[in-house]
């Protein structure tokens, strides 16, 4: 299945991109993040991040489906 990953803030800087589409076999968001963390040297552990799927905050264990857009969100620092 194909999943689009969205990158924000520090993660976009480290990945040098704001989004990319990846082909996955494992529907686990955690497995996907750990691969990206290794590829791009993301500093956060999976549990430090929030997960948004299709622009909605989602449980970390939600399985990914074909066509999903997923974002891993570092701790927010607005305001």
């Amino acid at each position: 299945m194909n999943v689009k990953v969205l990158y924000f803030a520090q993660l976009a800087d480290l990945a040098h991109k704001t989004e990319e589409t990846l082909e996955l076999e494992d529907p686990s968001a955690e497995a996907l993040y750990n691969k990206l963390k290794s590829d791009y040297s993301f500093p956060h552990t999976f549990t430090q991040l929030q997960v948004a799927i299709n622009h909605q905050l989602s449980a970390h264990k939600t399985p990914l489906e074909d066509g999903d857009q997923i974002a891993f969100l570092p701790p927010m620092t607005g305001g």
Binding site: L6, H55, Q56, L57, M76, T77, G78
Partner: protein, 140 residues
């Protein structure tokens, strides 16, 4: 109840006008300003990265919670995105109610939750041209 994420300079007098009500007795507003310093470093500018497709639902939830918890008439949140200069408004909150107690409690609730829940990330650029994403909240 209104939320806006904007690349333009925030104009508090216009936003205040939208809150006017002849039946409200109290109005509290809060503004976060870009300071020229943070943790002993001289800040030259600020950049906010944000997730515009997610932010409205988060802001809507915060406003709905404030309305449920406190006896307010109206509440609004406006947050900047993009690059901000020193002295500019990063975030604006406005609340109206019959009485002052609810305006203070709700404003405080909203800004606290905006800081921790709105999908917005702050990068500071310093006088020495280095920049860094803010890791933890220095409440400001």
């Amino acid at each position: 109840m209104k939320f806006e994420l904007t690349e333009n300079v925030i104009e508090p007098s216009k936003l205040r006008e939208q809150m006017l009500s002849l039946s409200a007795g109290a109005y509290c507003s809060y503004e976060g300003w870009v300071r020229d310093h943070n943790k002993g470093k001289t800040v030259s500018e600020l950049h906010y990265s944000c997730y515009p497709e997610l932010a409205p639902s988060v802001a809507g939830a915060i406003l709905a919670e404030a309305k449920e918890k406190f006896k307010i008439k109206d509440a609004a949140i406006v947050h900047r995105s993009g690059t901000l200069q020193i002295g500019e408004i990063a975030v604006w909150i406005g609340v109206t109610a019959d009485h002052r107690d609810a305006t203070f409690s709700a404003s405080r609730y909203i800004i606290d939750n905006v800081k921790f829940r709105l999908p917005v990330w702050k990068k500071e650029t310093y006088k020495d041209s280095k920049s860094s994403w803010i890791e933890n909240h220095i409440c400001g």
